[in-house]
């Protein structure tokens, strides 16, 4: 396990570069992101451990970051003052562009993985905004009317974007739909709903704030969500009103980040306020449940392993796209970035 200290700054997000297997960006904030400066670290993995290549300081907290999918030196950061900042890591100190449209904290930024020419931000102001590095103003604003903790483009389509919000809903927008009062919203899925198989006899699940979600990289209709109720759920957009497919229980506090594996279609990783990062299968790997005689999708979802080395809220985790499957990086409010191999934390 490799370690880097973000001394004086509490981690909020970590992202591997899609271009270099040894580059990691970390969004971090002083004073737990409550008040004070933020810092965007560009870290390099070297034979001598993790070294800071450079960092960019901001006036207010930095809560999330996303690498450009089209330009290896570009990266955006979402800030506490509502600004979204675009940096060129070949330059020093200042962003090449600062987009100031959001009225509240920007908690998520995400780059378009297919078209690669746009990126999105979401904010506590109840909107998602879509931007282009070529423009100084947003291209489109999608209202959610609810504190939007997370937004993500589909990895399978350039015009599909999703969000989860504090109103306990997963929204999917298709930008190809005509402009109308629906604002491109095509799916509004209550996250706290019951799976139909439960006949509504399951334990009552009240609405609770959703903090994070991610698109499966192999199955283009599968999204995982998680948040304050500690449960990770998967949804299949082919049956949007069908309730969650898999429910993964285990975290003892709110879940701050989920990320599907870039290598395995059934595996995802999570980071939680309970200070652990956990690896899960949603139970859909072929043949996995054969021995249970249970063919229901998602029935075999379970925790595969956990990493408990963080000593404060774990807030960010990301998979390495390169090399052997299993390497990931995590960050936490303990002012540390850890790079580790999930295979060394698997349970028996």
């Amino acid at each position: 396990m490799l370690e880097f200290k973000t001394t004086g700054f509490n981690g909020y997000a970590v992202k591997y570069s899609p271009f270099f297997d040894n580059k990691i960006a970390v969004a971090a904030s002083a004073n737990f992101g409550l008040v004070g400066n933020g810092r965007l670290y560009i870290l390099r993995l070297t034979p001598h451990g993790i070294q800071a290549e450079k960092w960019f300081d901001t006036q207010d907290s930095v809560y999330d970051t996303a690498w450009s999918e089209g330009h290896e030196n570009q990266i955006v950061a979402g800030c506490g003052d509502g600004s979204v900042k675009l940096y060129d890591i070949a330059l020093n100190e200042f962003p090449v562009q600062s987009y100031e449209e959001h009225n509240r904290e920007v908690y998520a930024v995400h780059w378009n993985l297919v078209a690669k020419d746009t990126f999105a931000s979401s904010s506590w102001d109840g909107t998602i905004k879509i931007w282009s590095p070529m423009r100084t103003a947003s291209i489109l604003t999608l209202p959610t009317h609810s504190c939007t903790y997370s937004t993500a483009f589909s990895p399978h389509s350039p015009s599909i974007i999703s969000s989860v919000t504090s109103d306990s809903h997963l929204r999917v927008f298709d930008l190809r739909t005509p402009a109308s009062a629906r604002n491109h919203l095509v799916n509004l899925i209550p996250i706290h709903g019951q799976p139909p198989s439960s006949n509504n006899h399951g334990p009552f699940s009240p609405p609770s704030e959703a903090l994070t979600h991610d698109w499966n990289k192999y199955r283009n209709t599968i999204i995982a969500t998680a948040g304050v109720d500690q449960i990770i759920r998967t949804f299949d957009l082919r049956n949007p009103q069908g309730g969650p497919v898999a429910l993964l229980r285990g975290h003892d506090y709110a879940v701050r980040r989920v990320a599907w594996s870039p290598h395995l279609s059934d595996v995802l990783i999570s980071a939680s306020y309970d200070m652990t990062c956990r690896v899960w299968t949603d139970g859909t790997a072929i043949g996995q449940n054969a021995h249970l005689g249970n063919t229901a999708l998602g029935a075999g979802g379970r925790e595969l392993g956990r990493m408990g080395h963080h000593t404060e809220f774990a807030t960010g985790v990301d998979w390495c796209l390169f090399g052997s499957e299993g390497w990931c990086a995590s960050t936490a409010w303990d002012e540390r970035v850890l790079v580790w191999d999930v295979r060394s934390f698997m349970m028996g």
Binding site: V35, G80, S208, E209, V228, A254, Y273
Partner: protein, 420 residues
């Protein structure tokens, strides 16, 4: 975008350590449309037939409670638009005399009054009805109250004869089985041994005595001057009643163990482990937070939500067990989020059964004792619990409380309150 706002937002993520929700943090948020309590109080509760209020009609108790409420809150009486009074025993529901009581207390003719009866939860139902009327916009300011003179109105006259039709339906006929008899049966069926009931009852007495000696009831009790006839001499004198007279020292599980069962020879329920027959009144002044701030009223706490649940008439004692989880669902909290439970002690057997079945921490239940120690004036109790709860939460610096009770004919009610 202040640090405080961010802290509230992030601590909302943490509220759900065990419950799977951010319920508690949500509850603690302050919003302008919250229904808040700006004054709540009760009279002392005194023994039926013997105590300080034995010669005071229910409506007179109510006049005292209303007067004190107006004095304490210093609210302009003309702003009070509606008053709901829960009461179980008065003929005609007490509608006429309660309206008269409001006028006698100094409320203007513009303040409407109604009485209501949901048995032992009437006082709570009155507060909930007023809160709902405020949040729906029907009224701006209201009073929820409860009163009972068991000395003067307790007796067979409170229930009319059942028709043949009602008698012919088994569950319907069960509605008139007496509370003592059915609770005795329930204690047997649910295996609540006498020793457990006596221990619970003794602790209620001990807690109440300790609280009384420490003056913990002083804030909630409004002293009342009444006429009282000395049973020995027949002299009528004016006395001030400021203390619950049911509370007495030297009660232990052992001393209660010697009392004869009241409802069956081999029974477990007796006068010492059931609620006392008492007289008393309580009142709660409710309005929106925005109204309270505009009027400069002191906010003691807020009403969050309430639930009502039906159970089998013969199992009326399990009411809180049915109602409390229901109000948890509505508010997204669980038992660990609650600092104090005020669960009416109709009988030690049913209260302790509900608490154990729900897995409640005994330290959180009725910390100042309950109806076994100081009485259960039926319609008053639900409104009385609000003052008992809010003042104790405030004294301890705690926040979230639940009031609940079982209800005759098979119901339970529960409500969530937050002290501020």
């Amino acid at each position: 975008m202040s640090a405080a706002q961010r802290l509230t937002q992030v601590s909302g993520h943490m509220g759900a350590s065990k419950s799977g929700s951010a319920g508690r943090a949500k509850l603690l948020q302050k919003n302008p449309d919250d229904i808040v309590v700006t004054a709540c109080l009760r009279t002392a509760l005194t023994k039926g037939g013997k105590g300080g209020f034995k010669d005071t009609p229910a409506a007179d108790l109510l006049v005292g409670a209303f007067k004190s409420l107006l004095e304490r809150s210093k609210i302009d009486p003309a702003l009070v638009e509606d008053i709901a009074v829960g009461s179980v025993l008065p003929p005609g529901g007490g509608a006429t005399e309660f309206r008269a009581a409001a006028l006698a207390a100094g409320l203007p003719v513009t303040a409407a009054v109604r009485s209501l009866n949901r048995q032992c939860s009437s006082g709570l139902q009155a507060c909930v009805d007023i809160a709902n009327a405020i949040s729906s916009g029907m009224i701006e300011v209201g009073i929820g109250a409860g009163v009972e003179s068991m000395s003067l109105q307790y007796g067979p006259g409170a229930v009319t004869e059942f028709s043949e039709l009602l008698e012919s339906h088994p569950e319907s006929a069960n509605c008139k089985v007496s509370m003592g008899v059915l609770s005795e049966q329930m204690a047997k069926d649910r295996n609540v041994p006498r020793s457990l009931q006596d221990a619970f009852a003794a602790s209620s007495y001990q807690k109440a005595l300790k609280a009384q000696e420490a003056g913990l009831f002083d804030e909630e009790i409004a002293p009342l001057k009444v006429k009282w006839e000395d049973p020995k001499t027949g002299d009528v004198k004016e006395i001030t009643v400021a203390k619950d007279d049911g509370v007495r020292p030297g009660i232990t599980a052992e001393s209660l163990g010697k009392i004869k069962p009241a409802f069956a020879k081999d029974g477990s329920i007796h006068a010492g482990n059931a609620s006392q027959i008492s007289d008393g009144a309580a009142a709660v002044l409710l309005m929106k937070r925005s109204t309270a701030e505009k009027l400069g009223q002191q906010i003691l706490g807020k009403y969050v939500a309430a639930s009502v649940a039906g159970v089998a008439p013969l199992l009326m004692g399990v009411g809180p067990w049915a109602a409390i989880p229901k109000v948890f669902e509505k508010t997204g909290i669980n038992k660990d989020d609650v600092d104090i439970f005020e669960i009416n002690e109709a009988f030690a057997s049913q209260c302790v059964w509900c608490a154990n079945e729900l897995g409640l921490d005994p330290k959180k239940i009725n910390p100042k004792g309950g109806a076994i120690a100081f009485g259960h004036p039926l319609g008053c109790t639900g409104a009385r619990q609000v003052s008992t709860l809010l003042y104790e939460l405030r004294r301890r610096g705690e926040k979230v409380g639940v009031t609940s009770m079982c209800v005759g004919t098979g119901m339970g009610m529960a409500a969530v309150w937050v002290a501020e």
